[in-house]
């Protein structure tokens, strides 16, 4: 099942991800790749193209007018390692979708939801320059 791309998202080509990975190196470097990728854009989402929850989180940000950078890990040769690194970071077996704002890890879906409800998400976005009033 292939998730159809929509124009309001920025897809980082897989080549670019791989290049970043290569630059990073081995396993410990997967984490560094993550950090590297996360700091490249104001809002970074690590996703899987066929995952519907990832679709939901993308809808959320785009609905707010944010233009997140989406890395589809299932379309990436090193995607598995990034997913593992994210799992270690988040302390959960299902880390996707994972959101970084301003290079800092916000969390998976429930954390993003909670931060949006408690009103902390929008200031964070504004601070990262992803949202303008």
């Amino acid at each position: 099942m292939h998730y159809s791309a929509e124009s309001w998202e920025t897809y980082v080509p897989a080549v670019q991800v791989a290049a970043a990975m290569v630059a990073g190196g081995g396993r410990g470097e997967a984490l560094e790749s993550v950090e590297r990728l996360a700091s490249r854009s104001a809002v970074v989402i690590f996703s899987v193209s066929s995952c519907c929850m990832c679709h939901a989180i993308k809808s959320l940000f785009c609905g707010m007018g944010v233009n997140p950078a989406v890395y589809e890990l299932d379309e990436d040769p090193r995607g598995k390692e990034i997913e593992k690194a994210l799992a270690r970071l988040l302390g959960t077996t299902q880390p996707l979708p994972a959101v970084f704002i301003g290079g800092k890890l916000v969390g998976a879906m429930d954390r993003v939801m909670a931060s949006h409800i408690n009103g902390s998400l929008v200031p964070l976005l504004k601070q990262a320059g992803a949202l303008w009033l």
Partner: protein, 504 residues
């Protein structure tokens, strides 16, 4: 019954009761019921029987001319029964067991063993034995017996009377044969006439006894069936009540264990919720200081956390039970969104009741409403894409062919994986609800928060009351056999409705 059977001179018309007792003695059958009118008539054919088998008794009762009419009656009865069933001589060997059976007993009536079955005789026979044993021991011989027997009988049979009815407290069976016997000197004369009349009466009573027995059997059967049915209904009612369901029909049978457990916990949670509501109401009414009110409000919030925890456990066990909203009442189900209430709807309802709000609070509430709306929209879109993906997976390949074609199992495996995502969405939706309630608590003052949670509780109580009223609204009477539980749950719902009304 031959009329020539009446042989012995001086024998009086046997009393019905005497005959029955005699018969009982002879045949070891159950003592008859009180209404038993025992037979008579053909009993006179005792001829050689009496001589062969019960000389003692006959002596004891003083066969032959005797001043004591009663005793003669006894004897006649006794002998009569002896003669009634010549073919049943085989039971006589049991006779020695009872060396001195009282010849007649008013309340012991015999039942022929025809359709009653010999098996039935054992119990009442024991009762008869007891009665026999209660008799004063009667020596086997001697004319004194004639004294003892009748007196003993009389003592034990206070109700003995020349009437057709003879009480038998322990007896459970009507004898097959009944006969109304009236002892009168006039009847003694024309034995042949008597025979005809009494024969007819015998037959009639026999029929009556048979009918009574059948009626009694049918009645007992009906009682048993009703009892079983009642137990079943009670069990279903118990099950439905414990699950807090307001459904007609066997709701309990269709639930998985996880769903059933959740329903039970939810019912308990609802009761607990009522308690929190009353505490809030009481606290607001009493104008408690903020510190104490905070405790109540926080415990109320903790109570909401509890239901979300229960729901997350239930989502793991049976997500579609939550998602379908079966655990809610019908009116609540109208507003169902992803297995629960829609947070933005609830906020829309609450805002007018939270007045007066400061500007900052008002802005906070508005932004809360907006962000929950956005989050709900995102989750709904995600679920839509999940549904689309699921439909595409199931419909992949040719639908005109059977399941044995192609990659059926592979397709199913993919579809299973997709279906499992429902749990994630229900969980995120519950997370959204929980976060919204916590944010409300943060924005509002303690008093406002108390009123807010009270309003939420009252709103859902009213929705549940509406569901009760709806389910118990007047409808066509259903056939009881078809929907026994429906009527039972409807009754329960009417009661529940009354409870709701008390809070208004």
């Amino acid at each position: 019954m031959a009329s020539n059977r009446v042989a012995q001179p001086g024998f009086s018309e046997p009393e019905s009761s005497n005959q029955s007792m005699v018969y009982e003695v002879l045949h070891g059958v159950t003592p008859p019921q009180p209404n038993f009118i025992e037979q008579h008539g053909s009993a006179y054919d005792f001829g050689e029987l009496e001589q062969a088998l019960m000389p003692k008794v006959f002596h004891g009762v003083g066969l032959g001319a005797d001043g004591d009419r009663k005793r003669n009656c006894d004897a006649i009865n006794f002998a009569a029964f002896l003669g009634v069933r010549p073919p049943t001589l085989e039971i006589f060997p049991s006779w020695p067991v009872r060396p001195q059976p009282p010849p007649t007993r008013a309340n012991s009536q015999s039942a022929e063993s025809t359709d009653s079955g010999s098996a039935q005789n054992t119990g009442p026979w024991k009762a008869a034995d007891a009665r026999f044993d209660q008799e004063s021991p009667i020596s086997t011989k001697g004319s004194d017996h004639s004294e003892h027997h009748p007196q003993g009988e009389m003592a034990s049979d206070p109700t003995r009377a020349p009437s057709s009815t003879a009480p038998a407290p322990n007896s459970q069976f009507k004898p097959l044969e009944k006969k109304k016997v009236t002892a009168s000197s006039s009847e003694r004369d024309g034995s042949k006439q008597l025979d005809a009349k009494t024969l007819r009466r015998l037959a009639q009573n026999r029929e009556a006894a048979r009918k009574s027995r059948l009626r009694k059997k049918a009645y007992v059967q009906q009682l048993e069936n009703s009892r079983i049915k009642l137990n079943q209904l009670e069990q279903e009612l118990q099950r439905a009540r414990s699950q807090g369901l307001f459904l007609a029909g066997g709701a309990g049978a269709n639930l998985s264990s996880g769903a059933a457990i959740f329903d039970m916990e939810h019912a308990r949670w609802l009761e607990e919720d009522q308690r929190h509501m009353s505490e809030l109401r009481a606290g607001l009414h009493a104008h408690l200081p903020d510190g104490e009110l905070r405790v109540i409000v926080d415990s109320c919030l903790g109570h909401y956390d509890e239901i979300f925890r229960l729901k997350s456990v239930a989502a793991k066990a049976d997500v579609f039970h939550l998602y379908s909203g079966i655990w809610t009442t019908p009116a609540e189900r109208c507003f169902l969104w992803m297995g629960g209430f829609r947070p933005s709807d609830l906020l829309k309802i609450l805002v007018p009741h939270l007045e007066p709000l400061t500007e900052q609070q008002f802005l906070g509430i508005c932004s809360l409403q907006q962000s929950s709306q956005q989050a709900e929209e995102a989750l709904s879109q995600g679920l839509d894409s999940l549904q689309q993906a699921l439909a595409d997976t199931i419909a992949a390949g040719s639908l005109s062919q059977g399941p044995d074609v192609g990659n059926y199992m592979g397709q199913m495996a993919i579809a299973l994986g997709k279906l499992a995502n429902y749990e994630g969405f229900v969980r995120q939706a519950d997370n959204l609800r929980q976060q919204t309630l916590h944010q409300l608590r943060r924005i509002l003052t303690i008093r406002q928060a108390a009123r807010c949670f009270l309003a939420i509780g009252e709103y859902y109580t009213r929705l549940r009351a509406l569901s009760s009223l709806w389910s118990s609204r007047p409808r066509e009477i259903m056939v009881p056999e078809a929907h026994p539980v429906a009527t039972a749950t409807e009754l329960q719902m009417v009661q529940h409705t009354e409870n709701h009304f008390t809070t208004f």
